[in-house]
């Protein structure tokens, strides 16, 4: 009985070994999100081969744990994460079965893009009655391009640590990336100038860094608490607050449903702006820089629409 089964397993193994292709790149990198994936590609160039786990349109808290992710993690030389707990729902269980100690958080190949970030919204108490809080502070700093530079610096430092021979390449890759990003940051300061002083609500509590950068105020969220869906009583209170505070924007992250955002906007005279909390989520965007730009353009367009009504 045992022999045929063992033979079958062996045959499958031989077949799969036979079709496996050796990688040409120096460094196999797994990136948890599209943002850090794009930065790693820009900085690492030909020295890295990057695969991404989460897709831009997904809710980063609900990324499915596909077995194919396990093999990618198993074979990785480095793992680049956004950090501050953004990946808590899917990455720790995957790492537990990936059999690759070097990319564990304590391992040499673990590159945390948040290490230079000064976190905001650090909870003063840890209690789920306040929703699903991130104990280390909000992990959505990728939405702010200036903090994006710090992410890129942390990634370049991490790549140089994992692959010291490529340190000069990573340094020049970082300079190239920063050169493009700096020019865009100056451009975006003009683009986003109308947002200063505007009041907004978002679906999820994830815009503190973006609002901090461009000077708009976050009044409340459609979710009752972080990660807790809206209740009717919360929505009634939210609509009253929005009318009182003259909120102009309802910012809906693309991973969250549109109809409720539209209902709230319709009852308050605000406009819905759809953004993506990760790169590549909005149609026509692929990389970090065009995603930041698409988000800002969506916000400004919605604001103009609100002003014209």
């Amino acid at each position: 009985m045992a022999f045929p089964l063992v033979s079958l397993v062996f045959a499958i193994g031989v077949m799969l070994f036979g079709v496996a292709q050796p990688a040409a790149a120096v460094l196999r990198v797994v990136a948890s999100t599209p943002d850090v994936a794009d930065m790693t590609r820009q900085i690492g160039g030909d020295r890295v081969e990057v695969v991404t786990l989460a897709a831009g349109s997904q809710d980063p808290h609900k990324v499915p744990m596909k077995p194919s992710f396990v093999t990618k993690l198993n074979r990785a030389d480095a793992l680049v994460v956004n950090g501050l707990g953004l990946e808590h729902a899917f990455l720790p269980p995957l790492l537990e079965v990936a059999s690759n100690p070097k990319i564990l958080p304590t391992g040499p190949g673990y590159i945390d893009a948040s290490v230079l970030i000064q976190p905001l919204e650090i909870p003063t108490s840890q209690n789920r009655s306040q929703g699903e809080l991130h104990p280390l502070g909000s992990p959505h700093f990728n939405l702010d391009p200036v903090r994006g530079k710090q992410m890129a610096k942390a990634i370049a430092d991490g790549l140089a640590r994992v692959d010291p021979e490529g340190a000069a390449d990573y340094r020049s890759g970082l300079e190239r990336f920063n050169g493009v990003l700096d020019a865009k940051i100056a451009e975006w300061a003009q683009l986003a100038a109308p947002l200063r002083g505007v009041k907004a609500v978002s679906y999820h509590q994830d815009l503190v860094y973006l609002a901090d950068r461009y000077g708009f105020g976050m009044v409340d969220t459609i979710e009752t608490k972080p990660g807790v869906p809206a209740t009717p009583s919360h929505l009634e209170a939210l609509i009253d607050t929005m009318k009182r505070e003259r909120v102009q924007l309802v910012i809906r992250e693309i991973a969250y449903e549109m109809p409720l955002a539209q209902t709230v906007a319709a009852r308050t005279g605000a406009q819905v702006a759809t953004i993506s909390s990760m790169a590549g989520g909005l149609p026509g965007t692929t990389g970090y820089i065009d995603s930041v730009e698409a988000n800002l353009k969506a916000l400004v367009a919605a604001l103009h629409a609100a002003a014209s009504e």
Partner: protein
């Protein structure tokens, strides 16, 4: 950006040294042209001046490097200040750094899984604690982690369900687990009750394994070092299945077996991304007790998932099925009745039985799912007691850590008078603490 005064001084020193170097070079040039007319003393003087200037140049270069490093540090600091919040101060004040008293404690979670049910096969109404489960886990050292679950319920009292050690850094993609744990059979047999997508374990799995596949033994898991996902588990256990172990203990079994009486298991599984949003997972299970072929169990499990990652009403579908074939020899089992005395006769008999289930669950929005399940179950010994169950279930997640589920079962039992009936169950589950679904319960 303005440089501080200290750096202006460094820059001045750099310039001064460069001028000296150029002057020395000019002097040297003049000296070289006038060698024939200058005395040896003058030549020695110029050489000494050159060495001194070169030495100063070296020192200046070092200063320049230090200045460049300081400049980079300051630029980093400027970036940090520029990108920092203008509204919130998050930098901790300088204070003694004292480790929290709970720093070395393991992650702890507790699940409360309670239900209210009614039906005509078991008439009346019943509140029950399906599971009150304490789960703790932590790394033990750089090579090992440990976990344990203690479970209490209305039906089974309170007990240690799992207590296991798992390696974390073995070479060749190997992981070894030892202790008491759910052996790696199929897909759902090793899931904890609260992880199931239904209010109860399928009857086929319940009868085949006696509930969860609790076992005492050791397992080795190998992840193939290739781009395609292939995972194989091999295990050796006293026995597989909760009731199997309990029956053995009840019968006075003292826990010593010959090597041939231990249970061997092999469970390969693989996975295919059929498209960006559709994937298929396939597994096979075989376990055996070699001694006189006491038990041979074969199983197959298939799971198809559609995970579009959209924010619309429809957010995905899971279709899954498991089927098991069991051939088992039972000793001291009632095989008939003595015609003369009417007393039961006991002997040895082998039973070939099978069973399994299939289900589909659709996810609607972020909070809801609905599904149906069909199950076919036979007893693994004695009369087959065939039972077919058709179930419909709906789940609502008020938050990520709270769940309400309503399930209706239509039950048909062969060979039992009045064996057809229904059951309705409302399940209410809450997750306390650091609860996170592991990879195996994805």
């Amino acid at each position: 950006m303005r440089f501080p005064n200290q750096m202006n001084g460094r820059a001045r020193r750099v310039l001064r040294c460069m001028v000296k170097f150029l002057a020395a070079a000019a002097i040297l040039g003049v000296a070289s042209r006038a060698t024939a007319t200058k005395s040896d003393d003058e030549l020695a003087h110029v050489k000494a001046e050159l060495e001194k200037t070169q030495s100063e140049l070296g020192a200046t270069r070092e200063q320049l490097d230090a200045t460049r490093a300081a400049l980079e540090k300051l630029a980093d600091k400027v970036d940090r200040i520029e990108s920092g919040s203008t509204t919130t101060a998050s930098i901790a004040p300088s204070a003694p750094r004292i480790a929290p008293v709970n720093a070395d404690n393991p992650a702890i979670s507790f699940v409360v899984d309670t239900a209210f049910s009614t039906g005509n096969l078991d008439p009346g109404y019943n509140f029950s604690l399906q599971s009150g489960e304490l789960f703790i886990s932590a790394p033990i050292d750089p090579f090992l982690r440990g976990y344990a679950s203690l479970n209490g319920s209305s039906d089974e009292g309170f007990g240690l369900e799992e207590a296991a050690l798992v390696t974390t850094s073995l070479p060749w993609n190997l992981t070894v687990k030892g202790g008491r744990f759910m052996s790696d059979v199929g897909r759902m047999p090793h899931w904890h009750n609260e992880q199931l997508p239904f209010v109860n374990r399928p009857e086929s799995i319940e009868r085949m394994f006696g509930g969860e596949t609790i076992s005492e033994g050791a397992e080795v898991t190998w992840l193939a070092p290739i781009d395609h996902y292939v995972r194989v588990t091999a295990g050796l256990y006293n026995a597989i299945g909760a009731e199997n172990s309990e029956e053995l203990l009840d019968d006075g079994f003292e826990g010593r077996r010959s090597f041939n009486e231990l249970t061997w298991l092999v469970h390969p599984s693989t996975y295919f991304d059929l498209s960006d949003t559709v994937n298929l997972e396939v597994g096979g299970t075989w376990f055996t007790v070699n001694s006189d072929s006491t038990r041979n169990l074969f199983g197959a499990d298939v799971t198809l998932r559609h995970q579009p990652g959209t924010s619309g009403l429809y957010q995905g579908l899971v279709v899954g099925s498991e089927w098991y074939w069991n051939s088992e020899r039972f000793d001291e089992i009632e095989v008939g009745v003595d015609a003369d005395t009417g007393e039961p006769l006991f002997g040895t008999q082998r039973f070939e039985r099978n069973g399994g289930y299939a289900y589909a669950e659709a996810f609607l929005g972020r909070q809801y799912s609905v599904g149906v399940r069909g199950d076919y179950a036979e007893n693994i010994a004695g009369p087959s007691g065939r039972q077919r169950t058709l179930s419909a279930f709906a789940t609502w997640l008020p938050s990520e850590f709270q769940r309400l589920r309503l399930q209706g079962d239509a039950i048909a039992q062969d060979g039992i008078e009045g064996g057809d009936g229904y059951q309705i169950t409302l399940q209410w589950t809450g997750f306390l603490g650091s609860h996170a679904h592991g990879f195996s319960a994805r």
